[in-house]
Structures are given as C-alpha cells and as structure tokens.
C-alpha cells in the first residue's frame, strides 16, 4: 500500500510538472492580454508534433527537437498576437472566438500533414530508476519534472528580477496604468504570447515520448488547465502552479484507485466548489475577478 501510494505520488508529480507549464502560460496570457486563448491546448499539441517531425521522422537529436518546439511554438504565439489578439485588443470576446477558429485551423493543418492517427514517438531513453520493486521512476518522466522546475524557476526569476518581468506583472495587474508608465502594451503582449506559447510548446515536446500524440490531444489538457486556473485564481501565476500540483495529485490518486472519468468529475466538482465558496479562486484577488 505504501509502495502504491509512493508510485502514485511520483505519477502525480510528473503530471503536475507539465500541467503547471501549460497553466502558467495560459494565466500569463490572460493576465496581460485580457483574452482567453482557447488554442492554448493546440499550442501544446504543436509542440509535440515538432518533436514528431524533427526527432521521430528526421531522427535528429531529441534535445534539438525540444528546443525547436520551444522557439517554434513561441513564434506561433507571436503570430497569434499579431494577427488576432492585437487587432482585437479592445474586444476580448472577439479574441476568444478568433482563438477557437485558430484552434480548428491548427488541428486541420496537423491532420493534413501527419494524419489523424496516434503518432509513435520512440522513447528517448528506456532507463528506469528502481526505487523499490513496485516504485519505479522512468528517467524520461524525471526529465519532465526537472525541466518543468527549471523553466518555472527561470520564469519566476524573469518576472521578479528583470525590468520586462516587472512590466509583465504590472500589465497583468492594470494594463492601462502600465501604459501610463511608458510600457508598450503591444510589445508586452508579444512577450507574453511568446512565453505562453513557448511554455506550452516545451510541455508538448517533453511529454511527446510519454503520451499519445494526436491532433486532438490539446483538448484534455485545456480542460485541466482551465480547472487549475479557476481553482488557483484567475490572473495568479503562483495560484496556477499550486493548483496544478493539487489538481494533479487529486486526479492521479483518484484515477489510480478508482477511475479516470470519476477523477474528471471530481476535478470539475472541485472547480464548482471553489467558485461557490471563493469565486476569486484560492489565490486570486477580488479586483481581478
């Protein structure tokens, strides 16, 4: 029993790691641009397909493919800002609808290029750290955990210590007041979309060898990401990370001991409970809600 719990805990940490990368990017984009990017899950999917193309098909090194996913999906984020969210700056609902359209375009492009079947990404390494007979941690999963911690730490340092990091946080808290400090909303939106895209892309690249890669894989993560953001508090980056960890533990434990569908139901029920008890989310402040 102890061993089963330990194994479940490791699985949950892995799930929390990549879920945090996705949720933090979505929160950052919502905070700075004021728009809900429904295509965020598809940015995650594109990251995985960059690995399919570069690592699985062209047989280039995996690290190169992951780096390419980060840059490429970040660039897709910038493209979205320039073509949709920028022109629709004062129309958040329009931005949301445009992102739903873009989501369908991305799914269609990937389906045309790669087909709709699940892609097989060969494992980067088969090594497994054997902690005990029943507690094992594949090195690939460990790499996801470590990489997520590294990327989240880098983001944290950027937001706390750099001038543009301050500008991002200021813009997320009060966009108009930020523009009165000389912060260009256009530039800051581009930076936010690059970071949000890059984090979703690297999450897709990191998990590509471990999960089923298909054109619709963005759907399941976006639902989880929304639950995490609402529980954590809309606009709170710290809240998103903490809620990711909590959600991943609850979800993984329920999936292990009962069933995945029940885990989804519990996740949504948790979100509902938070909305009823504390509508601003566990870490959100009232003025953002």
């Amino acid at each position: 029993m102890v061993e089963l719990l330990a194994q479940t805990g490791l699985n949950a940490i892995y799930a929390a790691a990549y879920m945090s990368l996705i949720a933090v990017g979505l929160v950052l984009v919502f905070g700075v641009l004021g728009v809900i990017n429904f295509a965020h899950g598809e940015l995650f999917m594109i990251g995985a397909y960059v690995v399919v193309a570069i690592y699985a098909d062209f047989q280039m090194p995996y690290v190169l493919a992951a780096a390419a996913a980060l840059v490429f999906v970040g660039a897709v984020g910038i493209l979205m800002e320039r073509t949709m969210f920028g022109p629709l700056r004062d129309n958040p609902l329009g931005g949301l609808v445009a992102s739903i359209g873009f989501l369908l375009i991305l799914q269609a492009l990937v389906s045309v290029q790669f087909g709709v079947r699940m892609e097989h990404v060969p494992p980067v390494t088969q090594d497994v750290i054997v902690i005990s007979e029943k507690v094992r941690l594949p090195v690939q999963r460990l790499a996801v955990i470590i990489a997520s911690i590294v990327f989240l730490s880098l983001l944290w340092i950027f937001l706390r210590k750099s001038k543009f990091g301050w500008a991002l946080r200021a813009s997320a808290q009060d966009r108009e007041a930020a523009s009165l400090q000389g912060i260009s909303i256009t530039r800051i939106s581009i930076i936010a979309m690059f970071i949000g895209g890059a984090l979703a892309g690297i999450a897709g690249a990191l998990t590509a060898p471990l999960i089923s890669v298909n054109p619709h894989m963005g759907h399941s993560v976006i639902v989880a990401a929304f639950i995490v953001i609402i529980v954590g508090g809309v606009g709170s980056l710290e809240g998103a990370v903490v809620a990711s960890i909590a959600y991943a533990f609850v979800h993984t434990i329920i999936t292990t001991f009962w069933d995945g569908v029940i885990a989804d139901i519990v996740g949504l029920a948790l979100m509902l409970a938070v909305l009823i008890i504390k509508p601003t989310g566990l870490f959100g402040t009232a003025d953002r809600a």
Partner: protein, 235 residues
C-alpha cells in the same frame, strides 16, 4: 506654451464627452480643471495621455503634435499621468511600483538618485518599501502614485483627483506636495472635484461644463466669481 490643447472632441459611442475643449499650460504653473461629475475633466486628461482617441482637434507638447500617439509614446515625450483612483499595481511592492514609473529611462545613476529623492519626499513609502501596494492606506497609495509618476522624470505632470477619498489632513499634505513639484520646475495640470483646494493651488483654471470650457481665468479671480462660488464652492 508647453502644452496646447486645441479644440479637442472625444465621444464614447454616440455620447459626446468633450465638444471642443482648448487648454494651455505654460511653464512654471499649476493649471486646475474643475467641474461637476461627467463634465469631461478626466476625459480631457485621458485624451492628453493618449488613453482616449481624438475625433477632432490637436494636442501639441513642446511645439510637437502628440495627438493620437499611443500612451507609452506620450510618456516618452515627458508627460506623466497620476490616474484617477491612484491605480497603483496592487501586487507589486512599493519599490517595484516606483521602478515601473522609470520604465523608459536609461540613465541608471540618475534614476537611483531620483528614487532616493522620492523616498525623501515620502518617508512613509520608505518605511513600507518591500510591502505590496495593496496593503497601503489611501493616502499612502496616492503618494505612491505621485512618486511613480515622478520617477518618469516628467516635464509635465497630469493629476486626476488626487484628493479623492482622502481625509482633510492628507489632502493638505498632497497640496503641499503639488506645490513643491511645481516649484521644482514641473508644471502640473490638476483635475479636481475639490474646487476649493484646486483653485487655491492653481495659477490658472478652467471650469468645464458638459464637455466644454464654460469659464477660464486666473484662479484668484475664479475664487471670487459668483457662478463658481455658487456652483462649485457652495458659498
């Protein structure tokens, strides 16, 4: 003239907020804009800062047109704006708020010196340097908002309702600060509902009514004007 606002018009949908307003601000002066709620005082300041699009008219600063530039570019020209309701960044610390005000500056040494001088002017901000702005009192937040604007090293300061919601003793403190800012060479455009305070501080004043300039003149003369006394000073 440092700032020339010429016949500007702004509307929100079909509702005209400003219908041809002209305002001039010279060097070394405090110019007050008073009027009732909805007269267009804040909208005038927001138009100068680029937060509202002009439908007509022109705004020139130091002789150059700044009409319809984005707000960040107007800050870059040297106009800082203390917005209505203070609008400090609630989850940034006092120091981070102040440094955000210096976002466009590249003169690191002078910026540090200005940060020290803001803390000299507002010792209470220094006491709370590491705390999030949302924990500050209303008066402290107003001082933070003013300090943040000064960190941009502006050549013109726009202030929107700095006395709003503050205790009379704090309003007096803010008045002293505004005088000091002007004495140090930064002209101030002061929008106020508190006409008494504004007219006592200002050299020149404009009275707005339903989006037009109803009256203008030296602040002293407006203090004696019957219409102003009846409508805005309540005497």
């Amino acid at each position: 003239m440092l700032l020339e606002v010429e016949n500007i018009a702004v509307s929100f949908g079909k509702v005209a907020a400003l219908r041809g307003i002209s305002i001039n601000v010279g060097k070394q002066s405090i110019v007050a804009i008073i009027g009732a709620n909805g007269a267009g005082k804040s909208t005038t300041l927001r138009a100068i800062s680029g937060l509202e699009k002009l439908q007509e008219g022109e705004i020139r600063f130091e002789g150059e047109a700044i009409s319809n530039l984005p707000p960040d570019r107007i800050v870059g020209r040297g106009i800082a704006h203390v917005p209505e309701g203070r609008r400090v960044f609630p989850d940034l610390t006092v120091e981070e708020n102040l440094r955000t005000g210096a976002f466009l500056r590249t003169d690191a040494e002078q910026t540090e010196a200005d940060l020290r001088s803001v803390f000299e002017s507002f010792p209470r901000l220094l006491e709370r340097i590491g705390e999030n702005a949302k924990t500050l009192s209303g008066g402290e937040q107003q001082m933070l908002a003013i300090g943040r604007a000064l960190m941009a090293k502006p050549r013109l300061l726009l202030m929107d309702e700095p006395s709003m919601g503050l205790a009379p003793v704090v309003v007096d403190e803010i008045a002293v600060i505004i005088r000091k800012i002007c004495a140090e060479g930064v002209p101030v455009v002061l929008v106020e509902q508190n006409a008494q305070m504004a007219l006592r501080l200002a050299d020149y004043a404009y009275v707005l009514e339903t989006g037009t300039v109803a009256l203008e003149g030296n602040a002293d003369s407006l203090l004696d004007n019957d219409h102003v006394r009846a409508a805005y000073l309540g005497v």
